[in-house]
Symmetry: C2
Subunit: 212 residues, 2 copies
Amino acid sequence: MSTTPDPDPPRRSDGERTHAAILDAAMAIASVEGLGSLTIGRLARELDISKSGVFAHFRSKQRLQQETVAAAGEVFEREVLAPGMQAPAGLGRVEGLCEAYLSYVDRGVFPGGCFFAQLIAEFDATDGPLHEAAAEGQSDWAGLLQTEIETAQSQGEIDAEVDADQLAFELDALLEMANFLATLHRDPDVTERARTAIRQRLATAAPASIRH
Amino acid sequence: MSTTPDPDPPRRSDGERTHAAILDAAMAIASVEGLGSLTIGRLARELDISKSGVFAHFRSKQRLQQETVAAAGEVFEREVLAPGMQAPAGLGRVEGLCEAYLSYVDRGVFPGGCFFAQLIAEFDATDGPLHEAAAEGQSDWAGLLQTEIETAQSQGEIDAEVDADQLAFELDALLEMANFLATLHRDPDVTERARTAIRQRLATAAPASIRH
DNA sequence: CCTACCGATCGGTAGG
DNA sequence: CCTACCGATCGGTAGG
């Protein structure tokens, strides 16, 4: 009979729980209003602790922003990448990743829509670490789609003539537009429009031998 | 012999020129960093006038924001809608409007990319007049594309079976993604990727009788 | 985690 | 258009 505590979930000190609560609130604010609207004073008010109490956890606003982006990355991995990657490599995974993204939009995982779409729009035209984070996140996601498209081509599920990079761009455009318009118009049907477009676009990319 | 001054361009008082100069700077700041980063003090510094000198032109920050959006709307009309509408109604105008938008992105009319794409991303998840302005701008633009698609259908240039609303969504997704990625990656080739996708998408939508 | 503070900047006002 | 202000809030520090 060991007294080792159940390892899952791990015990968290008060400080760790507060730290996580701050980041949760920070992600919500940033997804709705942007990281620029994230202030230490506002987090303090929402969580009912002092400003310097919040500050002590990060010691600079820059680190607060960086940790918020990193925390959002973990959410994206858990809520989009993990379920999407369950599908078998190739065409199924292309479809699985698209559906996982649209489901994440539909479920309202972030109250302001996709955190990273917000990050890209906010920092696309700036310089600095947040621009780099946005560019990297976008490249990683588009690269993942492209890789799975190429696997699908090698498996004969997508025509070998298709430009994988181009197709990834087109799918990503549909996904991101669905995210923005679903949020803007508060219209859950928009993701269905993206599903229709993606289905049709992938049908067009089917190998010539089975297209008719 | 009249002494009426040349009506074009209209004479502007010093006050009117300052007002216009403030709005030009405001549009540039907002396209790069968002309307939330627009402050009266910053405009005063950039234009080397006093804070209250800037303030006197608008009398509230809200009005400054509203006038900035209105001024950007005039730029969009002049730089996108006017050239795009030169094309004949129907398919030509669908293509013309898409090309006018991509050219506007390529020319860097706003230093931070499309002002309204920025506006949508910044205020999609909020409430208030700026959210309404973003939603209205988006609906107007998508509606214009849809109307021209329907005209093209009535003229036999696009298949009657095509869902015009759906096609407008897809074209808009490609245009907006090109805007964001061209800005994010500072890569002018992205708009060419959108042109390729639009060409291919419109070819798919051609009437069944001439598709093969 | 707290109180108490700093200089800078915010939107806005008074009065010219 | 200006100077001179206002209260509120910003990020950050000192010292506990």
